[in-house]
């Protein structure tokens, strides 16, 4: 896998090579080089299968990280291509022209993280959160408890603190 990385490095700006297992490695690429790199891997290096496309929210450094995982059926190796996006402007080129099924992943990422893939068919349609009005749910700064309290305030809470309740019940006079 290291050999592949060296070879790719001649044409692409790669960084942070990590070999997780002999048959699995990750590498980070510049945002604008992603589509050429994936095309090259698919058409020249026989990484023909898009296994998954997923995202991580690195809130602390204000970035989203996309990971495109590709599989080679001849060598049975996987390579994960990572791209860092600015969290304030999370837009990425679509790759549905390379793999048709990518539009489903892209639609999901749009819904869960609010990452846009302009041109991806139906990317703005809800996938599972039909009628959802709130912020993208997988963003780490989404405070679920606060959202619940504000949005469902008609649903009266009726809870008690054990310590206070026990005092009222067991030793109110003390």
């Amino acid at each position: 896998m290291k050999q592949l990385d060296t070879e790719l490095s001649k044409q692409f700006t790669l960084s942070d090579y990590v070999e997780q297992r002999p048959e699995l490695a990750f590498v980070t690429v510049e945002k604008q080089q992603l589509v050429p790199l994936l095309t090259y891997l698919r058409d020249t290096k026989k990484y023909t299968h898009l296994v998954t496309l997923t995202a991580v929210d690195w809130l602390e450094v204000n970035q989203f990280q996309l990971t495109y995982l590709l599989h080679n059926y001849e060598t049975h190796t996987d390579i994960g291509i990572r791209v860092k996006l600015d969290r304030d402007n999370p837009v990425m080129e679509t790759i549905h022209h390379l793999w048709e099924q990518a539009r489903v992943y892209q639609r999901e990422l749009h819904e869960m993280f609010g990452i846009d893939f302009p041109g991806s068919p139906g990317v703005e349609e809800p996938m599972i959160l039909e009628g959802w009005q709130g912020p993208p749910v997988m963003r780490r700064d989404f405070d679920t408890a606060k959202y619940s309290l504000e949005t469902y305030d008609h649903r009266k809470r009726d809870t008690r603190e054990p310590e206070i309740y026990m005092k009222e019940k067991l030793y109110p006079e003390d």
Partner: protein, 596 residues
């Protein structure tokens, strides 16, 4: 046309008799997978209502609601789920300290009646509201290899046994800052312990202060309900730890040692500055009889309220049973004096070597003071009531321990028997062991029935103390070579009354004996009121055992209050401290009503 072509349509028909590959979703339920995160289940007999599930829930799905059935160490609350908010992450199951909360693999719940508010239908209290998945075995349970709680306590360093049995140095070394913070970090802050503590100390709050390394705040929190934290940090019976939420699947938080850590972390000279509060002087006086934990606690709170307090103590130093009953290796005198000195520094006037009834009469106290608080304690040893009890060499545990405190070490000889199973018996046995004797403890019931602290018993074993259980004392005889023969009968445990603890009943004809040099009897304590003579007692009503009083310690004479071992029957330091605090507040309201 071939024969096969004619027959092949009929081959298909054989499939009609096979099990179909398709699933009938219309009439048959498809169960969720064995670890499916389905609807919640709660074993309410195990649940203690600590609220950890509600605390960890990211979607405020859970409300803690009251239920009618409750038990000891149980808040009486149970989690109610709002399935409109639940996201099935199962954090509530993972955090549950008792392991009562789990999930079934059920995922269908059909309610009839669309006219009902949807909120009423999908909110429910598992284990309380009957549901069809209640007894479903399958479903998500916390996997064994995954644990959010820190179940094991930080080990407390002890003196090695060899060093212990040759000295009276404090055997428990105490936590370092790092250890204490780590131990405090295990606490889940549920507050179940607060109700069990007789003084209702705000335990979660001072543990939080330790975690945040705010020692001074921790000390202030402790003094709100307990003016003897250095003492309780060492010898408290710590019933709080018995109900600790973590004790259900792991080890309770070391609440006692954390209290000791707070108290040990502040120098005595700084107490005045840290605990300073505005004291409004009141023109009233209170007499306190007995400077044990009850009397000292009452004194502290009365002084803080601005009253003048005088304490009458028959011994030459304050502390009562803390000083004269508990040995130095458990409660060193300087640790106790740190607490006591601070109380005295607030202006308590102590009359040492002053026995009420002999050096000053109760009448005089009653006339001179605006109120009197009686906390004399159980200062009399109970008798064994067997033949030979008065022989030389037969001692009483209380007197023995008191003599050792005074530095009067009796000649024990090589072999010592201790009769009894309480903390005094253990203190006497372990003190005798430290004085060089071989010690045998003899107790009427079984080991599990011993009222002594289980740690004391374990440590007794470590110090090579022998135990004989189910032994009923019969008599003591003097042998020809001036030693003592202790004779007992073996007992069997019989359940005589339903719901009470079993009683030892002598096995007819059994007789065992053991030769010893000294026998120390520690089978209980009592008190007497011979010292309360005069006219002033006319209004005080006596019950069967003690002075009759309400829960505030108020007797039938409105200016006389009682507290401590003579009053609460639990007879431990923290209950006496709680009594002192309660009575101080009652005395305050009585004296305030007098001025109006």
């Amino acid at each position: 046309m071939k024969l096969k072509d004619i027959l092949s349509p009929f081959y298909v028909w054989k499939r009609a008799f096979e099990k179909p590959y398709s699933i009938n979703t219309l009439t048959e339920l498809r169960p969720g997978s064995p670890t499916y995160r389905g609807f919640h289940k709660n074993d309410v007999s195990k649940c203690i209502g600590c609220g950890s599930c509600a605390e960890i829930c990211q979607n405020i799905t859970i409300d803690m609601v009251p239920v009618s059935e409750t038990k000891d160490g149980d808040s009486g609350l149970r989690p109610r789920f709002d399935y409109g908010l639940c996201c099935w992450c199962a954090l509530c199951v993972d955090i549950c300290p008792t392991g009562s909360l789990t999930m079934s693999n059920a995922y269908t719940w059909v309610e009839e009646g669309l006219d009902k508010d949807v909120r009423e239908t999908y909110c429910f209290t598992p284990g309380v509201d009957e549901k069809h998945w209640e007894n479903e075995e399958l479903g998500y349970h916390r996997p064994d290899e995954y644990e959010l709680l820190h179940l094991n306590r930080l080990p407390m360093p002890h003196l090695p046994t060899e060093e212990r049995i040759t000295s009276f140095i404090e055997m428990v070394k105490g936590y370092s800052r790092e250890q204490a913070v780590k131990e405090a970090d295990r606490c889940i802050q549920c507050g179940i312990c607060t109700a069990t503590c007789p003084a209702h100390m705000n335990i979660p709050a001072y543990i939080k202060a330790i975690r945040e390394d705010n020692i001074e705040e921790g000390l202030r929190i402790m003094y709100e309900t307990n003016p003897l934290p250095g003492v309780c940090g060492r010898v408290c019976t710590r019933r709080c730890e018995d109900v600790c939420a973590l004790s259900h699947r792991g080890e309770a938080i070391s609440i006692r040692w954390l209290k000791r850590y707070l108290s040990d972390s502040v120098e005595g000279e700084k107490y005045n500055q840290i605990l300073a509060s505005e004291i409004k002087p009141q023109n009233k006086t209170v007499a306190i009889i007995g400077a044990g934990p009850g009397g000292l606690s009452a004194a502290y709170y009365l002084l803080k309220m601005g009253y003048s307090v005088e304490i009458f103590e028959q011994n030459k130093a304050a502390g009562g049973m803390l000083r004269y009953g508990i040995p130095e290796y458990r409660l060193p005198y300087d640790a106790m004096d740190k607490d006591i000195n601070y109380i005295v520094s607030l202006g308590a006037k102590l009359h040492y070597n002053t026995k009420v009834g002999k050096d000053i009469s109760f009448d005089e106290l009653h006339a001179r003071f605006d109120s009197v608080f009686i906390s004399t304690g159980l200062f009399e040893a109970s008798k064994l009531a067997i033949e030979g009890e008065t022989l030389p060499g037969v001692l009483y545990g209380l007197n023995f321990l008191e003599d050792v405190t005074h530095g009067k070490i009796p000649e024990l000889g090589k072999k010592v028997l201790v009769i009894g199973g309480g903390n005094v018996a253990m203190d006497a046995a372990r003190t005798a062991r430290r004085l060089g004797a071989d010690v045998v403890v003899i107790y009427r019931r079984r080991e599990i029935d011993m009222p002594a602290d289980h740690e004391e018993i374990e440590e007794g074993y470590e110090e090579n103390i022998e135990f004989h259980f189910q032994a009923i004392p019969m008599k003591i005889e003097q042998t020809a070579d001036n030693r003592l023969e202790f004779i007992w009968g073996n007992a069997e445990m019989k359940q005589l009354e339903e719901g009470k603890r079993p009683v030892p009943v002598m096995i007819e004809g059994s007789r065992e004996s053991i030769i010893a040099d000294t026998i120390i009897s520690a089978v209980g304590q009592s008190t007497n009121y011979h010292w309360m003579e005069g006219e002033a007692i006319a209004n005080i009503k006596f019950g069967k055992w003690t002075i009759e009083a309400d829960r505030w310690g108020k007797s039938s004479d409105p200016k006389v209050f009682v507290g401590g071992d003579i009053f609460n029957r639990v007879a431990d330091a923290i209950s006496a401290i709680a009594d002192g605090h309660r009575s101080a507040r009652a005395i305050d309201s009585f004296l305030q009503s007098q001025t109006e």
